[in-house]
């Protein structure tokens, strides 16, 4: 067999070996750039297909609409979430978007969600209740910029 053929076989084999390494790297890439998230309903369908769902593009915020919610004081001050399209759950549970380190809050305490172009605060049946500007939240109430939510001993500010 000619020298050239052997060299080509050698390079081809090395390329194949590296192709495997790169394929594995692209598979585990999702771990480095965060797990894919989606709302609960379409999840089983997607899981079966094994496909990656396209990330939802954050909807453009209207003027005057709340853009973020942040913990105001205590050791967790500054922790928060941006309000884009997806609802934000607040509580002690590990599946919450804002995870509180507060013994007086419930595992899934309250949530913020968007409906008809407005943001709402809803209590998720918590033990100690959720307060928006001092008023106990018993049914979903609109959240406005500058409002403050109190959960257990934690205060969260709604900001632009």
């Amino acid at each position: 067999m000619s020298e050239l053929t052997l060299t080509l076989i050698k390079l081809g084999f090395l390329a194949l070996l590296w192709m495997f390494v790169l394929a594995v790297l692209s598979v585990i890439r999702s771990d480095l750039f965060g797990a894919k998230v989606d709302s609960r309903a379409p999840a089983p369908v997607l899981a079966q297909g094994g496909r990656t769902p396209k990330p939802v593009k954050p909807s453009k915020k209207k003027k005057g609409q709340p853009g973020s919610v942040t913990i105001a004081d205590g050791p967790q001050a500054g922790v928060g979430a941006t309000l884009s399209a997806e609802p934000v759950v607040i509580g002690r549970g590990s599946d919450c978007q804002i995870r509180l380190d507060d013994d007086y809050s419930s595992t899934r305490h309250a949530r913020l969600f968007q409906s008809e172009g407005e943001w709402w605060v809803e209590d998720l049946g918590s033990t100690n209740g959720t307060y928006l500007d001092g008023q106990r939240v018993s049914r979903p109430v609109p959240a406005e910029i500058g409002g403050s939510i109190r959960i257990g001993r934690t205060t969260l500010n709604i900001a632009k």
């Binding site: 084999f13 790297l25 894919k36 609802p87």
Partner: protein, 466 residues
């Protein structure tokens, strides 16, 4: 506003078994490609046995894949293809050195040694069978926690077994094999597995006292003197292995594993300091006392002091391979003889695939370790976390010690290159480790049982209608 978009955001649990199948196909293509390549260059034709080799490796990989599909659907998709690739490449290289040794023997007019590759293929099959048994029998890794002390005792017995007169045999100066039913085994490989189970189970219980008690000195949290017991015992046992079995590699592996798990469980750097000092003390003691350790260090400091020595031959081979290698079948790894298939198999790859191939192989090991540590991060119970860390680190330590030795970075200590080196017990034990890691990763990646719905959709909808 649809109901779906108001419901809670969740991470989509994906099984990714399809991805695993795709990676398996590439891995098998690499292994079979290596086999064909070797046939083309050494024998100038595609070997007739290619069909059997390809069918065998594909069948074994496919069975493992199907069992994962049904019994551990959320297991990590990357580990099985990586292990299959390394195993397949290892068999191909063992076959290549077989051919080289045969040619050399024929040229010298000697009777060629019997081929080692078929034996390794049989052991691969045994390994995959054990893989299946572990996946099918151990449905939940947490059951192993109940076996903590049993595993510790079993590990110690396995370690001592080669010293039993009549059972243990001395091969190449190391007393680490036993001969049983006409075959040799290396019980230390399984001792590694059961000792990791023991370390993990033990540290789950003791980590609090090992973490909290202690005093601060020079910015380091040092443990109390009476908590030093376990680490001293681990140190003494690994020194015992070194003294009585003359096995430098296993000794290093056991102590390293224990130290690393201790650090992971307690998050205290003080343990690393104490462990490092103990290691240095032990290493100095071994260097001063044992001739064979002394010789290893001498070979490391000056590999070319002995013309035709193992380390110098291995380094020469790797240098000859250069960046792209000689090409499969075009180097001369048979110069290292039997060692070109076992301890020095990485150097054989360095010679024939060059630096490019060797980096790829080391990366595949790194990926297995990374997935193991990722499994530990995702795992929900501490025992599982420590077990996965220990198993992943056992690969990392082994690869570091043997590849470091072969490339001249550290003194050479004989440890099996996982999945590649000739040796049945090691291969079978490594398949069991991969099975255990996959079982833990299935638990870690499986979707959590959904919490009871707290949110009241009807209220939300009623509000929206207002």
């Amino acid at each position: 506003m649809s109901i779906a978009s108001t419901s809670v955001i969740q991470i989509i649990p994906r099984t990714r078994r399809g991805v695993e199948l795709m990676l398996l196909i590439i891995a098998i293509a690499v292994a079979v490609g290596a086999y064909i390549n070797i046939g083309l260059t050494v024998q100038d034709r595609i070997p007739a046995s290619t069909g059997y080799y390809a069918a065998g490796i594909s069948l074994l990989a496919l069975i493992a894949h199907m069992v994962l599909r049904y019994r551990a659907p959320y297991a990590d998709p990357v580990m099985l293809p990586c292990a299959v690739l390394l195993n397949g490449l290892g068999v191909a290289m063992i076959h290549r050195v077989d051919l080289g040794l045969k040619q050399a023997a024929e040229a010298a007019g000697r009777e060629p040694r019997s081929a080692a590759a078929p034996q390794q293929i049989t052991w691969t099959a045994v390994g995959i069978i054990l893989f299946l048994v572990v996946i099918l029998l151990i449905r939940d890794h947490r059951r192993l926690q109940a076996l903590t002390y049993t595993a510790g005792l079993a590990g110690l017995i396995l370690l001592i077994l080669p010293l039993v007169p009549g059972l243990g045999v001395n091969i190449n100066g190391a007393q680490i094999w036993i001969r049983f039913l006409g075959m040799s085994f290396q019980p230390g490989e399984f001792a590694k597995l059961s000792l990791v189970v023991f370390f993990a189970g033990y540290l789950v219980v003791k980590r609090d006292v090992l973490t909290l008690a202690g005093h601060r000195f020079l910015g380091l949290d040092l443990p109390r003197a009476r908590d030093l017991g376990p680490i001293l015992i681990a140190w003494a046992v690994s020194l015992g292995v070194l003294v009585f079995e003359k096995d430098l590699g296993s000794s290093l592996l056991f102590f390293g594993l224990f130290l690393f798990l201790l650090y992971v469980a307690t998050e205290r750097a003080g343990w690393l300091l104490i462990g490092g000092l103990l290691f240095l003390g032990g290493a100095w003691f071994a260097y001063a006392t044992f001739g064979h350790v002394n010789k290893r260090v001498a070979d490391w400091l000056d590999p070319f002091n002995e013309v035709g020595g193992q380390v110098s031959n291995a380094l020469m081979g790797q240098a000859w391979g250069g960046v792209l290698g000689r090409g499969l079948g075009q180097g001369r790894p048979e110069i290292l003889g039997f060692y070109g298939q076992s301890d020095f198999i990485i150097s054989s790859f360095g010679e024939e695939l060059g630096l490019t191939g060797m980096i790829a192989i080391i990366l595949v090991y790194t990926l297995i370790v990374e997935r193991g540590l990722r499994t530990a991060l995702g795992c929900r119970d501490i025992f599982g976390k420590l077990l996965a860390t220990g198993l992943a680190m056992s690969f990392a330590l082994q690869v570091f010690v043997i590849v470091g030795g072969v490339t001249g970075l550290i003194p050479l200590t004989g440890l099996a290159t996982p999945f590649m080196a000739l040796g049945g017990t090691s291969l079978v034990a490594n398949w069991a480790i991969i099975a255990l890691l996959l079982r833990i990763s299935d638990q870690a990646r499986r979707p959590q049982t959904p919490a009871a719905p707290v949110s009241d959709e009807t209220i939300a909808m009623a509000v929206q209608k207002q």
